[in-house]
């Protein structure tokens, strides 16, 4: 007989439960957060995911390599070119293809533009969540300009599918070069305006300094990467630590915060936008001397032969068929490649059994990892802080549930 005597009932304080999500304006996507509240203060938090799980990794096992970019597009849709190019570089690594420098630099231009677009979204949404809507609408015009560049290059805006395995489908047009140059010339002044609107605003500083802080140790233990880890004071950037796409040829600063709070994250992203600009400027200078160079690597298995040959030449027709159907020989092996995505280290792990589709794919999605730490970060803070923490970590639902 065990413990017959009833223990004196502990009087627990009664908390009210508040659901933050799935469809809440602050989540900017579909995921849930069950908060136990004492008035305005969060006593406990439980993060739930799975509302837009689309089984990307499983779908990828049934698709030819070149068709997987439509899945990676839809992970972090704010910076989809980086996702796509990361995937393409992974496949190139698997194939062992040599990429011309010109392609590397062109990729860097696109990836850094995508990073600026991503950071514009994140930083202005921090503004929106503190109540300053104007900066958001104003800055979105400049994100629009980036999208116009993408549109000119590949015809799509949000889910761009801008590259191909081995490089680009075609060279950038003269108009797109001009658009890129114009953007780089005009953007710094706009960024300065936005800085003036919020960076030293007393209310904004009061709201964001100390909101949702994370220590470097905890951030590392959770596996944080990207701007969120750098804001906590760890200078880890894949572009520097493990350069890909010839990032070693460029000169840039990795901004690092100290406290890991919302204000630091805001500042780190802000500074990264400036650094991205300087990277693009350098890349444009380097590309200036390479006019008319190759725009893709020598991988005939992923590039369609010219149309008139397809119509008149049987080999070319067979090639065309094989390329379109994805019946391409891929070496057996496993590869991990990571890029510095808009949100942090975006990793691609592929096992190939030599077939037309990968045997197994895993995407290392930074948002998924951030969201695990979220519950810890908001405990004991106020509701308003929790919302700022969420938006400043830039948790994007598409990347959270692959």
């Amino acid at each position: 007989m065990s413990n017959v005597i009833a223990e004196p009932q502990k009087k627990e304080k009664e908390y009210s439960t508040l659901n933050l999500g799935p469809t809440h304006p602050a989540t900017h996507g579909i995921f849930q957060n069950v908060l136990k509240m004492d008035g305005e203060i969060i006593m406990d938090s439980e993060a739930t995911i799975g509302y837009i799980h689309r089984a990307f990794e499983k779908i990828a096992e049934h698709r030819p390599y070149y068709q997987i970019t439509t899945l990676t597009d839809r992970m972090n849709y704010c910076s989809s070119p980086i996702n796509n190019m990361g995937w393409e570089m992974t496949v190139e690594k698997l194939l062992g293809v040599e990429i011309p420098k010109r392609v590397d630099y062109m990729r860097i231009v696109i990836m850094e533009l995508a990073r600026i677009a991503d950071h514009i979204v994140c930083n202005t949404v921090i503004g929106v969540d503190t109540g300053a809507l104007s900066g958001f609408v104003y800055m979105f015009q400049w994100r629009e300009k980036i999208y116009e560049i993408f549109e000119e290059i590949c015809g799509a805006r949000l889910t761009t599918n801008i590259g191909r395995i081995g490089g680009f489908e075609r060279d950038f047009s003269d108009k797109s070069w001009k658009q890129i140059n114009d953007f780089i010339a005009e953007f710094p002044a706009i960024l300065k305006e936005y800085e003036g609107l919020l960076m030293r605003n007393r209310i904004f500083m009061d709201r964001t300094i100390g909101a949702g802080p994370i220590s470097p140790e905890l951030a590392l233990n959770y596996g944080f990467t990207g701007p969120n880890l750098r804001a906590a004071g760890v200078d880890y950037d894949v572009r520097v630590m493990n350069p890909y796409s010839s990032y070693q040829d460029f000169d840039f600063i990795v901004p690092v915060g100290t406290k890991g709070d919302t204000y630091d994250r805001f500042q780190v992203r802000h500074e990264e936008m400036k650094q991205s600009q300087s990277i693009i400027k350098q890349a444009l200078q380097k590309l200036e001397g390479m006019k008319g160079g190759p725009h893709h690597a020598d991988v005939p298995a992923f590039y369609l032969p010219p149309k008139d040959e397809v119509y008149n030449n049987m080999e070319a027709l067979i090639y065309h068929f094989k390329v379109v159907m994805g019946e391409v020989d891929v070496p057996v092996g496993e590869v991990y490649h990571s890029v510095e995505g808009g949100n942090g280290e975006l990793g691609f792990y592929v096992i190939s059994d030599g077939g037309r589709a990968p045997f197994r794919v895993h995407f290392r999605r930074p948002c998924f990892i951030y969201y695990q730490g979220y519950a810890d970060m908001v405990k004991g803070s106020m509701l308003s802080d929790a919302i700022l923490t969420l938006s400043s970590m830039n948790v994007i639902a598409g990347e959270l549930d692959a």
Binding site: S16, T17, L18, N19, H24, P25, A26, E40, G127, V128, D129, T130, G131, A132, L133, S134, V137, Y138, Q141, L197, L198, N201, I203, F204, D206, R207, M382, L383, S384, D385, I387, S391
Partner: protein, 341 residues
């Protein structure tokens, strides 16, 4: 009898004007926001989108009423009604201009000049809290409840500082009647020059009372979805939104009257126009001041972020409350030294 008929005419005029200004404030707000954000704003309904408020109003009328099953239905309808009625009630004591003289009879451009004008405004404004509180509670929705609680604790906190800040003005003028306060400021003797601190405190509190940014916590959409009006639809939602704009209009009118000389403007009296034209000119001056403050409200809204709840409470209780008390001390001492006692 003539008195009552005149009052009824005046009441309908003021009521209509209030509603018109509030309606076009929504239009102005969107245009101002668009201007600040480098956009166009409403431009489809009518020339320059001028019929947009009308279209919005008709839309509100034609929308389905949704009353949640779990809500308290009577209170759910009562909430927005209280908010609207109290918003419309405050305009009674505002002096819109000097008397009209028609056939030797004086017709004041003020619905009524009670000698407790300022107190009346505060009284009615405090009832406005109930509209929000009842509506938020009756919804039986957590976000609405949180919004309602935020709204009520915010509004009552800032009411104390607001009440204290205006005491220094009353010390100087010695009256609670808004008309007398305005008339004492004839020329350029505006109270704002004599008690600027009171003006700043009053302005901040007015923002808080109207639930405008940076004090729009009760309805901040990124935290509480819609705040206290999360569950509201059709004209009941319209009433809450409308009441906010009317409150903004009335606040601007009161700020103009108490601190900026109301319908007075230096140099206007020496123009030598006939009395009735003068009265309308003065009313126009008052409206000019009011529109400036409405614009100011919008300007602030589209520029700065909002406070966090604890910061808001700290500012109200630990910042503005002691400051307004200090302001009374200063006013008293300065008036003693200036030999006004």
């Amino acid at each position: 009898m003539e008195f009552i008929i005149y009052k009824i005419i005046l009441i309908s005029a003021v009521l209509g004007l209030t509603l018109l200004v509030a309606m076009y404030s929504t239009y102005a707000e969107r245009k101002v926001a668009a201007f600040m954000q480098d956009r166009l704003g409403p431009n489809r309904a009518g020339p320059f989108g001028l019929l947009q408020p009308l279209a919005d109003g008709i839309k509100m009328f034609m929308k389905e009423e949704i009353i949640p099953d779990v809500s308290n239905k009577v209170l759910f309808v009562l909430g927005p009604c209280i908010a609207m009625v109290t918003a419309l009630m405050t305009g009674v004591v505002i002096p819109w201009g000097p008397d009209l003289i028609i056939g030797g009879t004086h017709y004041p451009l003020q619905i009524t000049d009670v000698n407790i004008g300022v107190l009346y405004v505060f009284g009615v404004v405090s009832i406005g809290v109930y509209g929000i509180m009842i509506g938020g509670w009756a919804s039986n929705n957590k976000y609405a409840l949180l919004g309602a609680i935020r709204a009520s604790s915010q509004m009552i906190s800032y009411e104390v500082a607001m009440g204290l800040s205006i005491i220094s003005i009353i010390m100087m003028t010695g009256t609670l009647s808004l008309r007398e306060i305005v008339e004492q400021q004839a020329g350029a003797h505006w109270n704002v020059f004599y008690s600027p601190l009171a003006f700043i405190i009053f302005l901040i509190c007015a923002f808080a009372e109207c639930n405008r940014t940076p004090f729009d916590l009760p309805e901040c959409e990124t935290e509480l979805i819609g705040g206290y009006h999360t569950e509201y639809s059709s004209m009941k939602l319209g009433f809450y939104l409308f009441a906010e704009y009317i409150n903004m209009f009335i606040s601007s009118a009161i700020i103009s009257c108490v601190f900026f000389g109301g319908y007075n403007f230096p140099g206007v009296d020496s123009l030598g126009l006939s009395n009735n034209i003068m009265a309308f000119l003065h009313a126009g001056i008052l409206f000019g001041k009011i529109f400036f403050f409405i614009f100011f409200f919008m300007w602030v809204r589209w520029t700065i972020p909002r406070f966090r709840y604890d910061q808001l409470m700290n500012l109200g209780w630990k910042g503005l409350l002691p400051l307004s008390m200090v302001n009374i001390f200063i006013t008293g001492i300065v008036m003693y030294l200036a030999g006004k006692l």
